[in-house]
């Protein structure tokens, strides 16, 4: 009995999967028949040349776009027709390619907004703002973890591009999601931040699943357990970084557009 349990525990657990995922805009199919399995405790990379449909796949998985075909399952539940905010509440949280912060709120407030809903402090219109202070401890923890302590009271709009991305990661982590979808988290980041954020992603992926779009292939090689290559909306190759990097078709697809 005990042995059986251990073996099921060690088996890779698929938390997010898509079958035959398709999105057509008129005659143009941005995503065609994509099958994807994201496993718990793994970092899964989605790579591919520009226009391959990576962000569209993200939008479909998080229900910001409605697929024209196929099914999506999140932790055993069919979410093909679930609205985006509900999907987020179920534990699938995304970041955006263009940094998504609340520019005229401070760094602290940005993180606190994310904490308000799980903290049960989002609908009270009769309470003073000071009531949000009980979220401060957790917010400061997150701010410190991503290295934004010195900018705590600065407006998000005043941060550099890279630091905004870091802040976005902090707000995403604030929700304690089961599955994280990160759309080019390292784009525009300084080398120092890339190190920090890679570390954080590796750390959070120990207990949850991460699916990320990333162009920085050295990051992919470093922290990703599994890589899916997308081209013109279709899956070109899948496997660990080494297998994929040696794939002839992948090399061809990337030639002239990206350098490993």
């Amino acid at each position: 009995m005990a042995a059986a349990m251990t073996s099921t525990h060690e088996e890779p657990r698929v938390v997010l999967s898509a079958r035959g995922l398709t999105k057509s805009f008129g005659a143009f199919a941005a995503v065609k028949d994509v099958d994807l399995d994201v496993q718990d405790a793994q970092v899964h990379a989605l790579i591919g040349p520009n226009g391959a449909g990576k962000t569209t796949v993200f939008n479909l998985l998080t229900k910001f776009l409605q697929p024209t075909g196929g099914t999506i399952t999140l932790m055993g539940k069919d979410i093909t027709r679930t609205p985006a905010d509900k999907v987020a509440r179920m534990g699938l949280v995304r970041s955006f390619q263009i940094s998504a912060v609340f520019p005229h709120l401070t760094v602290l407030d940005n993180v606190r907004v994310a904490l308000q809903r799980p903290g049960g402090l989002s609908t009270q219109f009769w309470l003073p703002l000071a009531s949000l202070e009980r979220l401060n401890a957790r917010a400061d923890e997150l701010i410190e973890a991503v290295g934004l302590k010195r900018e705590r009271n600065a407006l998000a709009a005043d941060l550099s591009y890279g630091r905004k991305r870091v802040l976005e990661i902090a707000t995403t982590l604030a929700l304690d999601p089961k599955v994280l979808l990160l759309d080019e988290p390292m784009a525009g980041m300084g080398q120092e931040d890339i190190g920090t954020i890679s570390g954080i992603i590796g750390e959070v992926a120990k207990t949850r699943a991460v699916l990320m779009v990333e162009h920085n292939l050295s990051v992919v090689a470093d922290i990703c357990h599994r890589v899916t290559v997308l081209q013109r909306g279709e899956i070109l190759a899948e496997g660990d970084y080494k297998t994929v990097a040696q794939d002839e078709r992948v090399r061809l697809a990337y030639m002239g557009t990206e350098e490993a």
Binding site: A88, F102, H104, S131, L132, R150, E151
Partner: protein, 332 residues
């Protein structure tokens, strides 16, 4: 890099301290002025001003703090005026209950209009609110309880809590002032609350708010109903002040006028709309007796404002050197 960012971070908290002190000083001066005002001005004029100021602030709750431009707020203002007038005159309710009937009615209307409107954004949102408010206008024109073109006339002011005779204009003025202050307090709390924080985040970045799991539509609807209810509070009290409720208050021109007041005063500032309403009401009042058409003057004032002070009177003041020295900050 982080030094550069760090630098303005500290003065911000210092400035917030100065701001709250300046704010407290202005608040006290404002209160004193409002209390002694009836000694210098015609009370009916002052009451009209307060009603419109509250109406504009209620409207600004939606435009300035949620980013939704409603073009049908006359429905809630004028609708509540009808409800209050009817409740007081036909059902014989006391003035405070009559006003509450107006508020409840306006909130109900807000729920219906908001339910349909929040599904769309920008100009479509504005058009849906306009269309629904035109429907309500024609309903008021036809319905029997509104008495069509005549409106509800000679509405009794009655006795507040059965004790204070509101037929005295001094008593009525202080009643209106109290309602105005309560309304402003509600708005202030609403904006500076956990709910208000979510509204702000929706205005800042709606997509991100969705991805954080907020059902944006519900928060918008909540703000819409709150704004409608407060507009109703202003409308209900206005019906008691003037002792009538007519089609003027539900017409689309009224929806336009409140937008004008808010823009003139400063979108997204708590007290801006008060000044905008003050300017428009004063112009209307003093030009009404002259030969010169009022609408041309307000039109010119509006154009000058849009061209010269985009942030509105108070918004520009906050952003000016003097305003910043006093610790204000214009944040949109």
């Amino acid at each position: 890099m982080s030094e550069i960012i760090h630098a303005p971070a500290k003065p911000r908290t210092e400035r917030a301290g100065t701001a709250s002190r300046t704010f407290a000083a202005f608040l006290i001066i404002g209160l004193v002025l409002l209390i002694i005002a009836p000694a210098f001005f015609y009370p009916i004029f002052l009451m009209k001003l307060l009603c419109f100021a509250l109406f504009a602030c209620a409207f600004n709750l939606l435009l300035g703090y949620t980013g939704l431009l409603s073009f049908g707020h006359a429905t809630f203002f004028g609708g509540a005026a009808y409800f209050t007038a009817h409740a007081v005159k036909e059902w014989g309710l006391s003035p405070e209950l009559g006003v509450l009937v107006g508020v409840a009615g306006a909130a109900g209307l807000g729920l219906i209009v908001g339910f349909f409107a929040i599904r769309r954004q920008g100009i479509y949102f504005a058009m849906i609110t306009l269309a629904l408010s035109q429907m309500f206008f024609f309903f008021c024109l036809q319905a029997s309880f509104t008495h069509g073109e005549d409106g509800i006339q000679s509405v009794p002011r009655g006795h507040l809590f059965g004790l204070i005779d509101l037929n005295s204009s001094t008593n009525m003025y202080y009643f209106v002032l109290a309602v105005f202050l309560i309304g402003m307090l509600v708005i202030w709390r609403f904006i500076n609350s956990p709910f208000g924080m979510i509204l702000k985040s929706i205005r800042e970045n709606e997509q991100r708010a969705v991805s954080l799991g907020y059902s944006v539509a519900r928060y918008k609807l909540g703000a819409f109903v709150m704004s409608a209810a407060l507009a109703g509070l202003a409308g209900g009290v206005k019906a008691l002040v003037f002792q009538f409720a007519t089609l003027t208050d539900v017409a689309w021109q009224m929806s336009g006028e409140v937008i004008l007041m808010t823009l003139l005063g400063g979108i997204g500032t708590l007290i801006g709309p008060i000044f905008g309403a003050g300017l428009v009401v004063t112009l209307e009042n003093y030009l009404a007796t002259s030969q010169f058409p009022v609408t041309i003057v307000t039109g010119v004032v509006f154009m000058v404002c849009v061209l010269l002070f985009r942030r509105g009177i108070i918004g520009e003041f906050y952003a000016s050197r003097l305003g910043r020295k006093l610790g204000f900050e214009h944040r949109r």
